[in-house]
């Protein structure tokens, strides 16, 4: 037992040190990050079911991704799974501010103004204030992180994010000793976010993390994906990515980061408390009240895969929840 525990801890430290030492000099050109083969490789199951030789004729050629390229360091921490197609990552989105179906955000989010953008840092923190996005990002080197992304609905992707470690940002603003939680808020602007005109959820969208979760080296604030500036439907210009939690925890288009003593109530928790808890860690053993979480459909694949504990980041994050009843704290 003790040995096991120790093992877990050393691994955790190893990973942490990898993340810390990951500032590899020199940027990587976006063309280098993704093998063209990977994103042109559309839906293997199509060939399996339809067996159509015709299908490739109708596939759209994707010359580039179309957004502004970013300069960033390549992370040494990444999953080895095949990346989900760029097209799927940027067209199949849950972003209720732009409508409740998956394909609306890619169309309706284009009208969102993201420049200028400012983020307010508030609450239990020594350096509160409203900062421009540039000020928020300036001191940090961008880094790529290839993470699994598991939606609570039972589908998943593998996404090459580009962003900064959330913990590095938090340290800059010196949270006080009373800061136990971090609360994030999405922009509220019904004129550009038509989904906010209907009260499907309580707007603005709110999410939260426990301080140690926020400081975990896997938690990032993303500003890009696939080597380019984040598309608006994916939460531009600044979004959270917490890869061991269900996707809805990874709040998009953040305008406020607040440090609190009390545990914040997230939007989904407020809306349907018996189904969505504060933690929302990916856990194949704890079902959603209405569906099983044992398996998931990786976008682009035909057969389902087994869902992994903490979305496959068990080694890294299990220590955060030691001794907690994950059924109770779902």
């Amino acid at each position: 037992m003790a040995n096991d525990r120790q093992n877990k801890d050393t691994r955790f430290i190893e990973m942490t040190s990898i993340l810390k030492s990951s500032k590899i000099p020199g940027g990587v050109k976006p063309s280098e990050i993704t093998d063209k083969q990977v994103y042109l490789n559309r839906r293997k199951f199509m060939q399996a079911t339809a067996g159509l030789a015709l299908a490739p004729l109708f596939q759209q050629a994707q010359a580039g991704y179309g957004n502004k390229p970013l300069t960033y360091d390549k992370s040494r921490y990444k999953v080895e799974d095949e990346l989900t197609d760029y097209k799927d990552v940027t067209t199949y989105n849950n972003f209720y501010e732009f409508g409740t179906d998956k394909y609306s955000p890619a169309q309706r989010a284009q009208a969102l103004t993201i420049d200028p953008w400012s983020v307010t840092i508030s609450g239990e923190v020594e350096k509160p204030g409203t900062y421009t996005l540039e000020d928020i990002l300036k001191p940090h080197a961008l880094e790529e992180r290839i993470y699994r992304f598991r939606c609570v609905e039972g589908w998943s992707m593998v996404i090459p994010w580009v962003g900064i470690t959330l913990g590095d940002l938090i340290k800059r603003f010196n949270p006080t000793s009373r800061a136990k939680f971090v609360k994030f808020t999405t922009l509220y602007r019904p004129s550009e976010m038509p989904g906010q005109k209907r009260r499907v959820l309580e707007w603005p969208y709110v999410e939260g993390l426990r301080m140690d979760e926020a400081m975990h080296p896997l938690s990032i604030l993303a500003v890009g994906l696939y080597g380019e500036v984040l598309p608006k439907q994916n939460g531009a210009p600044l979004r959270l990515v917490v890869p061991w939690k269900y996707g809805f925890k990874s709040i998009k288009s953040i305008v406020n980061i607040s440090f609190t003593e009390q545990q914040p109530v997230s939007s989904w928790q407020q809306s349907i408390p018996q189904e969505y808890g504060f933690y929302s860690n990916v856990n194949p053993e704890v079902d959603h009240p209405r569906w099983s979480q044992k398996r998931e459909r990786r976008i682009g694949e035909f057969l389902k895969r087994k869902t992994l504990m903490f979305n496959g980041y068990e080694k890294e994050v299990a220590a955060l929840y030691e001794g907690m009843d994950l059924r109770k704290y779902y």
């Binding site: 559309r42 839906r43 199509m46 079911t49 339809a50 159509l52 015709l54 299908a55 109708f58 596939q59 197609d85 097209k87 799927d88 067209t91 199949y92 209720y96 409740t100 998956k102 394909y103 609905e153 589908w155 209907r198 499907v200 959820l201 809306s271 349907i272 079902d287 209405r290 569906w291 099983s292 044992k294 459909r297 976008i299 682009g300 035909f302 057969l303 389902k304």
Partner: protein
Amino acid sequence: MSSRQLVLLKIIVFISCLLPLAWLMYALLLDQLGANPIEVIIRRIGEWGLQLLLITLCMTPLRDVVQQPWPIQIRRMLGLFAFFYVCLHFVSYLWLEQFFDWPEIVRDIIKRPFITVGMLAVLGLLPLAFTSTRKAQRRLGKRWKRLHQLVYPVSVFAVVHFFWLVKADLLKPAIYSLCLLALLGYRIYKHRLTRSG
């Protein structure tokens, strides 16, 4: 309506009921179903089943409005198409959602209310489909009508099934519920009217 017109109408209804499926096949082969085609297949087919069920229930009021027998004459075909799509929906669930993992399917049916009511809807439609022939209608006589009133609870199960699977946006299931309420309400109203009159 002449018998020739009726045949024509039936052909049109038959083809119309197959159009959604044809569209789905076409879109699937051309990779036009988006990032998660299987979800689209299961959801769309299920929704068409529900829509056809409600359309079938429209035929009686429609007959009363147009004062002609043709809505009743195409009702069976519509009902069978509803059954057809519901079956396709059920099979796509068994295959594409569960991959015939029977213990998991049984657990799903027992544990999840929305699957339970969906299953009840499928089971309720079975005797209706099997007794849809004219022969069965004659043999069952008065009992046929009683049996086929099963379509009412089946429709309720189908709408509830949809209601319970939606995550947060209840607009669509609410619309179907209203349609069903109107259709059932019409029958209750008519029943009362004939009783008191």
